[in-house]
């Protein structure tokens, strides 16, 4: 996989107080740092080490990841919706890159 690409699945609408399910996935090799290449040299660790989901600036869900997490980490969690707003998802790579994506949700 080339450049890590985030993707999320959030409903576009929710009713007041509804608990919605959010699914997220980022394409990433999650190189553990434990492997060696053909010549016996260690392949340097490169993983997504942090994931955060915010709703209107407030953290809904966040976690630190370690080298045992598989490639293309998938996260699924729930959130209670009391107001319309924007979900902001952030993944932080070991090399300092930050991958972000946003999804709006409205109350119907």
């Amino acid at each position: 996989m080339a450049t890590p690409k985030p993707r999320v699945k959030v409903p576009k609408t929710a009713s007041q107080g509804e608990v919605i399910t959010i699914k997220t996935l980022i394409s990433h090799p999650m190189e553990s740092g434990q492997r060696k290449d053909k010549d016996g040299n260690a392949i340097p660790r490169q993983i997504i080490n942090k994931f955060t989901c915010e709703f209107n600036g407030q953290v809904v869900f966040s976690c630190d990841m370690d080298p045992a997490v598989s490639a293309n980490p998938y996260m699924e969690f729930t959130a209670k919706i009391n107001e319309p707003g924007t979900f902001k998802f952030t993944w932080v790579d070991d090399d300092g890159s930050v991958f972000e994506t946003e999804n709006k949700i409205v109350i119907e």
């Binding site: 996989m1 080339a2 690409k5 993707r7 699945k9 699914k23 996935l25 394409s27 598989s70 490639a71 293309n72 998938y74």
Partner: protein
Amino acid sequence: MAICAISGFLSLALGGTVMAGGPADDKLVIDGEIEIITRTAAPDGHPLGELISGWHYRTEETRALEADSFQNPGMLYVERGAEIWNTVEGDAGKSCASCHEDASETMKGVGASYPKWNEAAGKPFNIELQINECREANMGAKPYKFDAADQKALTTYIKHQSLGMPVGIDLSTGAMQEWWDKGKEVYYTRTGQLNLACATCHEGYNGMFIRADHLSQGNVNGFPTYRLKQADMVSLHNRFRGCIRDTRAEFPPAFSDSLMALEVYVTWRSSGLSVETPAVRQ
């Protein structure tokens, strides 16, 4: 290790009292929309009465991954395949899309009907060989090396366009029947230090365990398959070679005549099951 494996296998086979496990009683509907045929009556002349997709032999968690296209890691490769489809490569300045346009229309059914007889080459072509032929002849691009990342992604993308369609190959064209016969011979020939044929495990003992591995019927309707073990797509010929290697035999090159014959034969053995590409397996 090998001795353990084989003696464990034999005691399992001869004992008869060991829990067989068997395929899971479940139904595969992808995204709640696309119904997948994972059990069907075998075609005439098939030694098994009912064909069962390898999906039934996997754990509940693995089965769930395939039922949700968002969770299915193989879908990342489908996306990559779509990029390749639209990317111009080679001297002719063409992409796949330049001639074949919208893959969701032009490639629908292709994955279900390959391998196909290729008159010019005098042998059956699978998707990978067809892609390489097209790249060389029409695009002026270099053919992919076996199991190059792009080859797997593009093959996955093309086969995915037939998701849910039943596998059915045409044996009446060219010398397909002869290749089928050759493939059958490969399938039933015991090989390697462990002296196993494809049929030993996948026909004789499917549903049972070979050590920790739950043996399936070895149907090919899900290839290329996302394997959790490799955390990557695994092509059919990679799996053929892996299986033959595990019998401790020397394994033939990918797309060689014997493996192409085997592909023709085992694709026929999977007739009627839906294309699941990208399937998710252990």
